[in-house]
Structures are given as structure tokens and as C-alpha cells.
């Protein structure tokens, strides 16, 4: 990726994100968020984050791999237990990475 498109990427993401943050503070009293939209938006984090997580575990090298040799799937399931119990980002990363490194060190080629 060229330097120009990299900075354009930051600016595009930043401008859009700012608009999302600013819109309803600015428009308060002029327009309100419709109820159906508010209801739908509630599901965005769960749906979008799951859509990022699942394929990263099932397709570690681009193709579907549900075998026991897929260490990222196994480490990810371990991380899921930590995430579920603690909802702590740092702890999930530390334990998930530790499982991955252990599997690679013990069973890796």
C-alpha cells in the first residue's frame, strides 16, 4: 500500500467515524434517530465482530481447516472461554497467544 493511499485510508476512516460521533449531537432537536434504526444498530457490534472472528479461526491460511492441526482454531476456542468468563481484552490475548505458542512448540513442525 502506497504512503498516499495509507494516509487517505486514515482520513476516510477518521472522517466517517467523526461523522458517526457528531451527527446526533449536532442534529439534536432537529432530527431524532428512528426507532427501527436504533433497534437495528444494537446488533452491529455482535454481528460485525463475530464476522471478523469466526473466519480468522476457521480459515487461518485462507482455506477452511477444521482439523486438530489448526492451532489457531484451538487457541481461539481457548480464548473464547476466557473472553466469555472475563470479557477482558488483555487477558484474552495473553491466554490465547500462550495456547497458540504452546501448541506450536509442542506439536508444531
Amino acid at each position: 500500500m502506497s504512503k498516499i493511499s495509507l494516509w487517505l485510508l486514515f482520513l476516510a476512516v477518521g472522517a466517517g467515524t467523526f461523522t458517526l460521533r457528531f451527527l446526533f449531537i449536532y442534529l439534536f432537536g432537529k432530527i431524532e434517530m428512528p426507532e427501527w434504526l436504533r433497534r437495528a444498530l444494537r446488533f452491529v457490534p455482535a454481528a460485525a465482530l463475530a464476522a471478523l472472528v469466526f473466519p480468522a479461526l476457521t480459515h487461518p491460511s485462507g482455506h477452511l481447516d477444521l482439523s486438530l492441526q489448526n492451532f489457531r482454531l484451538l487457541a481461539g476456542l481457548g480464548g473464547a472461554v476466557v473472553a466469555w468468563r472475563t470479557r477482558n481484552v488483555l487477558l484474552t490475548i495473553l491466554i490465547g497467544m500462550a495456547i497458540l505458542w504452546t501448541l506450536e512448540a509442542v506439536f508444531g513442525v
Binding site: M1, S5, L6, W7, L8, L9, F10, L11, A12, V13, G14, G16, T17, F18, L20, R21, F22, F24, I25, Y26, F28, G29, M33, R39, A40, L41, R42, F43, V44, P45, A46, A47, A48, L49, A50, A51, L52, V53, F54, P55, A56, T58, L64, R72, A75, G76, G79, A80, A83, T86, R87, N88, V89, L90, L91, T92, I93, G96, M97, W101
Partner: protein
């Protein structure tokens, strides 16, 4: 000028949450360097975007070689939640010039929203909500940038062989579980996740956007099955 007491209270209110802000911001700095950004690019992005989850999403898509437009769209989708925060806080942040509203909006974060709203709902007496929010949001912003800077400096010490890219899905996993509150949100996550797996073969990572929309639709549908439970949320 006398410092507003609400400003100080906002800073105090945000202090405990910094325990969560510091590591996440450092991770974003390490991650930026791990995908090949230099220090200035990492900090430029951190200041321009200032939204950790979406920054990590961009990094993950960079390592996957996704097209520019997919990175932008996915980051926006991840940040759509800010409209909810913005709509909820809007009544408290009024009677300000557009520039000041813009500054407060720019500093909006998950943590500033959580700290401020819970204080506003718990406080009976008249307070200047704008100053409380400003204090909390400013402390979180400064802490975030300093921690991200430390992460970007430390990042060059992390060897690529550690497989740090795996930290992206792991961090999304923790954020995802925080978003699972009831049956409809679980339905949204399962539908979004499974669709993304099945649609992995679609060109340009478009499966990601499709999966998000189907997940939202599933959550909406499951919620509408039990309309009498809506009041409980």
C-alpha cells in the same frame, strides 16, 4: 479562569477505567507497527481515527491484503455504534457552539460514554453535564494517545515470528462477548459469524459486509419474536 468542579469530577470518574484503556491502546500501537506502519503513521492514525477496534480491524484486513474500500467500509461499520452513544448523550451536550460540539464528539469513546452516562443517570442534582463529559473524555483521550505511543515504540521490539496478528481476532473475541447481552445479540453474532465462514470465498472480503447485515437482520428478527420482552431491556 476557575476550573469547573464538574470537569475535575469527570476526570475522577474516568480514572478507574484507565486500567482497561491503557493495555488496549498499547496493543493498538504495537499492532500498527507489527503490520508495517512507522511511528508517525501509527500515531497519525491513532489521532485521526481514535477508535481502537476499528483500527485493529484495518490492520487485520491489511495483513489479509483487502482492498482499500473494504477496509474503510468495515471500519465504519465497526464504528456505527458511536451513533447510539451520540444520540444518547446529545441532550446533555447542548447549548454549545458547533465547534465545541465537534470537539466533544471527536473525543467520544466507549469508555467516555459509559463513565458519563452512568454518572448522569445516577446524579440527582443539577450539574454541568458538558464539563463532566469533557473531563472524562479528555483524560481518556490523552491516556489513549500516550499509551498508543508507548505501544508504537515497543512494537518494533516484537518479532514477527510471535504471530502477533493472532491478537486481532482474540481482541475482537473479547469485544464480541461484551456485546452479547441477550438472545437476539447472540443470534446476531452466530448468524454473522457463520455467514462470514460460509461466504469467505466471496471476492474482496465482501462476505464480511454481507455477514454483518445478515447478523443484524437475525438479531432484529429474533427480538421481534418476543415483543413483550422489549420493555425489560
Amino acid at each position: 479562569m476557575k476550573i469547573k468542579k464538574e470537569f475535575v469530577q469527570g476526570i475522577q470518574g474516568a480514572l478507574p477505567i484507565l486500567i482497561g484503556v491503557i493495555p488496549f491502546a498499547m496493543i493498538s500501537g504495537v499492532a500498527a507497527v507489527s503490520v508495517g506502519l512507522n511511528f508517525w503513521e501509527a500515531m497519525g492514525m491513532s489521532v485521526i481515527v481514535f477508535a481502537g477496534a476499528s483500527q485493529l480491524v484495518v490492520f487485520q484486513l491489511m495483513t489479509a491484503g483487502s482492498p482499500w474500500i473494504i477496509m474503510v467500509l468495515t471500519a465504519w461499520v465497526i464504528n456505527v455504534r458511536f451513533t447510539m452513544y451520540s444520540a444518547t448523550l446529545a441532550p446533555y451536550l447542548q447549548k454549545l457552539s458547533t465547534w465545541r460540539k465537534a470537539l466533544l464528539a471527536y473525543m467520544l469513546s466507549d469508555q467516555a460514554f459509559g463513565v458519563s452516562l452512568s454518572h448522569f443517570l445516577a446524579t440527582k442534582e443539577e450539574i454541568d453535564h458538558r464539563w463532566y463529559y469533557f473531563g472524562a473524555a479528555l483524560l481518556i483521550w490523552v491516556t489513549w494517545q500516550v499509551s498508543a505511543m508507548a505501544g508504537a515504540l515497543l512494537g518494533s521490539l516484537v518479532p514477527a515470528s510471535w504471530g502477533f496478528d493472532f491478537a486481532f481476532p482474540l481482541s475482537f473475541m473479547a469485544l464480541m462477548f461484551s456485546a452479547l447481552r441477550d438472545r437476539p445479540t447472540v443470534a446476531a453474532a452466530l448468524t454473522g459469524g457463520l455467514t462470514a465462514v460460509l461466504a469467505k470465498g466471496l471476492p474482496y472480503n465482501t462476505g464480511l459486509v454481507l455477514a454483518t447485515f445478515l447478523g443484524i437482520a437475525a438479531g432484529y428478527w429474533v427480538e421481534s419474536l418476543k415483543p413483550h420482552q422489549k420493555a425489560a431491556q
